[in-house]
Every structure is written in C-alpha cells, then in structure tokens.
C-alpha cells in the first residue's frame, strides 16, 4: 500500500475524542477505587 494513496475515511476527531473519553472514564474508575478502598 502506498501511504500517499491509501484512502482514509476515518473520522479521526471522533477517534481522539473516544480515546480521551476512555482516559477520563478510567481515571474516574481509579478514583472511585481509591475512594472506596482507602480508609
């Protein structure tokens, strides 16, 4: 495949938002774990 010609119809903005959303969700879950298990 040629990097110049491969068609890329990916909506990258959406992908990036999903990645950042997943990060935020993980931090929330880890914060809840910390809150729940730390006396």
């Amino acid at each position: 495949m040629n990097p110049e010609t491969e068609e890329d119809k990916t909506d990258w903005n959406k992908v990036y938002l999903l990645v950042l959303g997943f990060l935020a969700l993980q931090i929330l879950v880890y914060a809840l774990i910390t809150e729940h298990y730390t006396a």
Partner: protein, 553 residues
C-alpha cells in the same frame, strides 16, 4: 528448575529467534531492512510499540513496586494517551509527508545539519547506555535467583537478540515482538489466575480487595499537589505527558516502529492501540503485584526476597541472629493469618493487624542491618525480587519455565527495538548523511546496516558486562532519560509549532535548557518526571528570548 522448565524456556526462546530469522532472511534494500519495507499493519505496529516499551524490568519490578507501595505508579501513564493523540495529529503526518527514516532527519529539513546531528547524538548516547541496562537489569536478577553466571546471562540475551535483529532487520523485530508479546501476556495471565486460585481457599476476590485496600495497596489516584511526591495525578498528566511525547515522538526506537507501517492510517491506529491498552495493561501488572501481597498474607513469606543475602549472612557468621529474626517474623505472620481467617472483620482487628505490620517492618529493618553488616556493599531493597521469588517458590514446573521466558522475551523485545533504532540512526544520520557522495549498492547498504547493528549489539553487551562495576547504575540511566528528554522534546516542539526562532536560537536554547535541568537535578529534590516539562519549556522560552534579542540588535 527441572527439565520441563528448561524445555519450555529454551523451546519458546529458540522458536521465536529461529522463526524471526527464517521468515525475514532476505532483505534487499535499506528501506526493507530499516523500515521492514513499510508494509506492517496496525496490530503489528501496535504490539511492536508496546513490546519495545515494555522491558523485562517492567515485569520484574512493577509487581514488586505494587507489593511494596501500592498502585500509585499507574499515574505515571496517565499522560500517555494525551501524548499519542497530540502526536497523531501533528508529528506523524509530517514524518510521513517527508518520508523520513529517522526523526532527526526532519530537524535538518527544518533547521540545519548541526541540529540534526546534536539530537541524533544525544539519542545515541542515551539509548546506547539504556540498551546495555535493558540487558543487564533482568540478567542481574535472574543470575541472583537462578544461580546463573551473570556475564554468561548478559552475553546469551545479547547474542540471541543480535542473531535475528542483524539478519532480518526491522521486519524481524516486528515479527518476533508479536510472538514475544503473546508469550508475555499469556504468562502474566497464567500467573494472575494461579494467584487467584491460591488465595481462594482463604479469601474471596472481594475480600482480597478489602484486605489490599486495608493495607493501602489500592490507592491508585493521588490528588495531592506536592512536587516532591513522585507519582500524583498532576505529575502523571503533565510530566508523564511530556515524557510520553518525547519518547513516542522523538525517540527513534519508537518512531522506527510506527514508520514501518504501510500507511499513515496504520501508524496512527497502531499508536491508538497503545493509547487505549497501555494503562489497563499496567493496571493489570500492578494488580498482579497487589495479589502477590495478599497471597503472602496466607503463605510463608521470606523476611527478605533476595535469597543471596542468606548466604552472605551465613558466611559472616550471623546466622543465629538472622534465625531469631526469621522465627519472630514467622510467628507474627501466623498471628496475622489467624486474625484474617477467624471470621472476624478487618475493622475489629485493625489495630492488631497494623501493630503486626509495624513489628514485621521493624524486624525486616533489623534483618537489613545484618545484611549490611555481612556485606556493606549489599543492596537491601528487595522489591525487584518479589515477583520472581513467588514464581520460583510457588508456581508449578512448566509455568516457571514460561514465566522465565516472559522475562527474557521482554528483555529481548525491547533490546531488539533499541538496536534496530541505534543502527538506523548511525546509518542514516551519520554514515549516509556525512558521506553523501559515496554511491553504494543496495546490497552493500544493507551490509553496512547489519554491521552497525552488530556494533551496537556488541556495545550493549559490553556495557551490560561493565554495569556491575557501577553502583545504582540502573537508576542513574533511568533518570538520565528524563534529564535529556525534555530538551529533545523542546527542540522538536519548536520545530513543529514555533516558526519564528531559527536553528541558532534553538541550538543555544537547547544548551541553556540542558544546563538548567542539570543544575536543578543536582541542587534540588524535584521529582524527576518534572524535568521533562521544565526542559521542554526552557527550550521554547529561551529560543524566543534569543530570537527577540537577535532581532533587536
């Protein structure tokens, strides 16, 4: 270790080495040798990026770290997804458009040759030393616990990597890393499930979590703002972001992995794969360490996880005192086990459990004093030995061989990525660039590339062999990374985003920033992650200051 473990260990390692060498034996030109012909798919790239980053010490030290201090280390990775998003938007499309082999080529196009050579040189020094440590760090632990000869372990790990990296270049690195990651994750999952099985007669999964929480092992996120604390959400999101941007965006050992993708889209997807999976993977490894901690509340645990110290103590005639400490330590462990299994709640026993913990820690400190008395040079920190000692003492034969294969695969996969990158940078940024008029055939170029790979392989092994002569070398090299990464990232950020300062301004700024970072390192207690951000901002600010100063003349 019995024959079954050796069979699994050697079978796994030899299969990967021979398969990688055989499948990639013919490399016709430099592009196919250094970038695997640019035909890798996103999964190959994603696993290769992951395998290059995860060294053996990740699997030896990380569970030990969670065992000792809990899961806070996870925050170190919070900046990574942010960094990958930024790189996917800006750095990677430019690398693709300019069709570069190395990240440093771009700096010449943007500034001048001096800038390219300075950054490539910084990379070679730092990564060359790091490659030696990538081999040495697991070799020292394995030779200690297995009784293997340290020098021989260093040489065997190094030679195995050289065989396929030299023969098949980047493609062999990608291919073997895929298998190595499969072995690594398979082995770690197996260890995880064995731990759950061993704990289950004493505590359910939920109870195990409660116990881990009671002992402070589940404090994942720390919101306190204290620059002297090494791992907080703030240092992870900022320092971790800069470190990850520098590592993934400007370190050739990573840039080369994703430039071997068949297209920009595949490169980005390979990196996004890491942005999504890296934190859960580290969580899993740390959580395995927490389970090892819970496991040792119910099973016999050594006072010190480095078995060699017992021999040191015996040789110094201190066995009697050590025996008394061990007996007292075991007695306390029994009392604790009774409290945890007699049906009463953690809350009711909180005070007694905390007292036992404090007393055990005091006994361990006493034992460490004996170790130092027996050998003043001895390292008393034992967290690197926790996981491997658990594997060797409690896992069944066959699984032990597999877990040792995990550690050696991890060592080999990151060393291979490093050697491949060191050879590329030497070849492309120095040899080819400084001899532009020399016309040589494709076959000869590949030969020269192979020669540089061997050279760096031998250098890495030699450095690993010399490493035992220096104290705290591993820590030093890790910190060295953070001392240089900020400056390198600052140079690249200026190149990508700040158009006004010219090469000479950025060059001066890089020297000033490096001096600042080094002075702060030697005179303050700032956590090393912060140096990534400080170095980076210093380059940008000083470059602008130099630019305005120059303009006002």
């Amino acid at each position: 270790m019995i024959w079954l473990d050796w069979l699994v260990l050697l079978g796994t390692l030899l299969f990967i080495v021979l398969y990688g060498t055989w499948k990639t034996r013919q490399q016709r030109d430099l592009q196919s040798y250094l970038l695997g012909g640019r035909e890798a798919g996103w999964l190959t790239v994603g696993l290769s990026v992951m395998a290059t980053q995860a060294s053996a010490i990740t699997f030896l030290s990380t569970p030990g770290q969670a065992f000792e201090s809990g899961m806070g280390f996870l925050q170190f990775y919070f900046g990574l997804p942010l960094a990958i998003v930024i790189l996917s938007i800006t750095f990677i499309p430019i690398y693709y458009r300019l069709k570069v082999y190395t990240a440093y080529e771009y700096l010449e196009q943007r500034y001048d040759l001096r800038m390219r050579l300075l950054t490539a040189f910084l990379f070679l020094v730092q990564r060359g030393l790091a490659a030696g440590i990538t081999i040495y760090a697991p070799a020292i632990v394995l030779s200690t616990v297995m009784g293997w000869d340290l020098n021989l372990t260093n040489i065997v790990i190094g030679l195995l990597v050289i065989v396929y990296t030299v023969s098949g270049g980047s493609k062999a690195v990608n291919l073997t890393q895929k298998w190595q990651m499969t072995v690594i994750m398979g082995g770690m999952f197996l260890a995880f499930f064995m731990l759950l099985k061993y704990i289950s007669p004493f505590a359910s999964f939920g109870e195990a979590l409660d116990i881990a929480g009671f002992y402070g092992k589940l404090e994942v996120v720390n919101f306190r703002f204290d620059p002297n604390e090494r791992y907080t959400i703030w240092s992870g999101l900022t320092g971790g972001l800069f470190l990850a941007m520098s590592y993934f965006g400007t370190d050739q050992s990573q840039v080369q992995r994703y430039l071997s993708a068949s297209s920009l889209k595949q490169s980005r997807m390979g990196l996004i794969f890491n942005a999504v999976l890296k934190i859960p993977m580290q969580f899993f490894i740390l959580f395995t360490g927490v389970l090892v901690f819970v496991f040792y509340l119910y099973y016999e645990r050594p006072v010190h996880f480095n078995k060699n110290h017992e021999q040191r103590i015996e040789a110094a005639g201190l066995s009697e005192e050590a025996g008394e400490i061990t007996a007292e330590f075991n007695q306390l462990a029994e009392e604790r086990k009774d409290l945890l299994t007699n049906g009463t709640s953690l809350k009711e026993n909180a005070l007694a459990l905390k007292t036992i913990e404090a007393n055990q820690q005091a006994l361990k400190d006493k034992y460490n004093e004996l170790v130092v008395k027996a050998d003043p040079e001895a390292e008393t920190r034992d967290s690197d030995y926790v996981f491997i000692r658990f594997v060797l003492d409690y896992l069944p034969h066959g699984v032990i061989g597999l877990l040792l294969a995990v550690i050696l695969c991890a060592a080999m996969s990151s060393t291979a990525g490093e050697l491949n990158a060191l050879a590329s940078t030497t070849m492309v940024d120095f040899y080819k660039r400084l001899n532009p008029s020399r016309a040589i055939s494709d076959a000869r170029e590949v030969m020269v590339g192979k020669f540089f790979t061997v050279l760096w392989g031998v250098a890495a092994i030699s450095f690993a062999l010399l490493a035992r002569l220096f104290d705290n070398l591993i820590e030093l090299v890790n910190i060295l990374g953070s001392l240089f990464y900020g400056t390198i990232l600052g140079i690249f950020l200026c190149a990508f985003y700040f158009k006004a300062p010219a090469g000479k301004h950025v060059f001066i700024a890089a020297l000033v920033a490096e001096t600042l970072v080094l002075s702060l390192f030697f005179t303050t207690d700032i956590g090393f992650l912060w140096f990534n951000a400080i170095g980076c901002f210093a380059v940008i600010l000083v470059a602008y200051a130099a630019y305005f100063l120059d303009r006002s003349k």
